[in-house]
Subunit: 338 residues, 2 copies
């Protein structure tokens, strides 16, 4: 059995995450039992939700356990199988974690998913045609439920979720305005993803200023918003929200480090009769097949050109993750493990 390298959570961050919160360890992969499959990971996905799990206390899921392999989505190949439905060489997706190999009990429903990549790079099954893409789909289709002619917005627009959201929204004929950090990201959002406009939040010192830019970009106001960030961005959007606007809250990355993150004008919820709904896509597995089929079509046809930032080797994961939390990545953040 091959030797495995594993990154575990060694201690919980107080404030910003640092490299010392993680520990790289080595272990032999165990012999397989009946029903198990040994997967060699090609790509590991890094996602903002992981930061929430690193905290103790209330969260939408169990906190990441100390001393255990960091949670994470992976795509790779079967290198040994004691399950009749999986064969060596097959491409698969699983929650393999921050490690090079994982042993998966393939009898658990959904634990190991075959990937039929066709012309699509397998890395995209961790992004546009994976959890981030379905997240965008669920927020747009099931929560925002925009009507024809609507204007919809999204923060972290150049990321894995934001780029899928914008492409899905354009395919439905909506006006789509992104919010992202820096000129390069905004240019990509408009020029390569086809958003109608993108606002660089970094040039705005407060939410009032950002909301003025939103007013220019959304002359008919905002009917639906997908929130990945929170804080000043959400405050600015709420100020421009139309009556009966609907806001899907997927992330509040601005608050993950524990700094105060208030909503400045909650009275707007009443004044504009808004609906604000938080969600986590893994609680809505029933939509995945429909969403993934639509996302795969958009990628295969070239309408959705997912951007990726790829770190090399497992040891680079902590630094890449810290960069992700600061917006240093551009598009989907991955770690290539092979």
């Amino acid at each position: 059995m091959p030797t495995n390298h594993i990154i575990v959570l060694d201690n919980r961050p107080t404030g910003e995450t640092s490299a010392s919160n993680f520990k790289l360890i080595t272990a032999e992969t165990p012999a397989l039992k009946e029903g198990q499959v040994l997967v060699r990971h090609h790509y590991l996905s890094l996602d903002p939700y992981m930061r929430g799990r690193m905290n103790d206390g209330k969260n939408y899921a169990q906190p990441q356990a100390l001393g255990e392999v960091m949670i994470g989505g992976t795509v790779g190949e079967v290198i040994e199988s004691k399950h009749p439905e999986f064969t060596v060489g097959q491409t698969v997706q699983c929650m393999g974690g921050w490690q090079e190999y994982s042993v998966i009990n393939a009898n658990l429903p959904g634990a190991l998913k075959p990937v039929n990549a066709g012309k699509i790079s397998i890395s995209h099954f961790l992004g546009a045609v994976g959890m981030p893409g379905v997240t965008a789909w669920y927020g747009l289709v099931k929560i925002i439920q925009a009507k024809p002619g609507a204007t919809v917005t999204v923060s972290a627009a150049s990321g894995a979720v934001g780029s899928a959201y914008g492409t899905l929204a354009k395919a439905r004929g909506f006006r789509v305005v992104g919010i992202a950090g820096g000129k390069a990201k905004c240019d990509y959002v408009v020029n390569e993803l086809g958003f109608d406009a993108c606002i660089d939040y970094k040039v705005h010192k407060d939410y009032i200023s950002l909301s003025k830019a939103l007013k220019d970009a959304c002359p008919n106001g905002i009917d639906g918003h997908f929130e990945n960030v929170g804080g000043m961005v959400l405050d600015a959007v709420m100020l421009r929200a139309n009556d009966f606007a609907r806001i899907a809250v997927c992330g509040m990355i601005a608050g993950y480090n524990g700094e105060p993150l208030v909503m400045t004008n909650p009275t707007l919820i009443l004044k504009s009769r808004m609906t604000i709904e938080g969600f986590i896509v893994s609680e809505h597995m029933e939509v995945w097949p429909e969403a993934l089929a639509e996302l795969a079509d958009l990628v295969a046809s070239g309408q959705l050109k997912p951007r990726e930032t790829v770190a090399q080797g497992l040891a680079s994961a902590p630094e890449a993750f810290m960069g992700l939390l600061k917006g240093k990545n551009f598009g989907k953040q991955l770690v290539k493990l092979i």
Copy 2:
């Protein structure tokens, strides 16, 4: 034609409302045209929404115009009619405003509603069997949508909306916990309305302290909340909200005077996958018949014993209204005009 006394909005408040914002004027009631009805008001309803209308700028409705009669719901009797469906002596309800008489165009759908009071005091058609009651019904039934065994909460629990909400919720078998200001109101909420518990927010200096009291009163957490107040109360409730909790936002009286009113922990929307929805009941007229029928039954049977604070005479309306905004009333605030 009788002489009418009218209270108009003379100027807009900056911060707290004061008596000098209003002006009492006298005018003759005009001769009726075809289709019009002259109504003598017996009771005027005072409601928190009026404070929002007194501000200029964004609101869910047109601002109250300066120099015009203050908006308000009324119940009274027809004293002259040029409409075939209304006869002198009939009890009716209308948006008559802060005045003793109003001329209503009865051809406008819903402008003038016959009241079949039976054993119910006509004043209740401005409260439990009127707009406040339907507001409570809509929030509980259509937004909160609580499931059997749920715990639901409400702020301003002893008020017209809160008391109807609690009674409706008890009739449906939920655990109901109120939040109100002062021991007398809390005693009424528990002893006369039948809430399971009521918390006096005035003995808590911050939302953390209030949330601890909520934890004791809601050992299984909070599944649904009806918000009339906002601020510290909403912050405390959100801290105790269960996964998939639903919050109906009907009022944020704490923010009507323009003081800063933030939501302290919006990340809880995500962590608990909450839905927060603002609404105004006049936009959902389709539910009124069903809601009013249920509310009338509860009042007629004595299950709902609405409490009222009644000011005497039109001239007392401004002071009574300012008291309402500070929670000095106990139950539904009315002005008796006859």
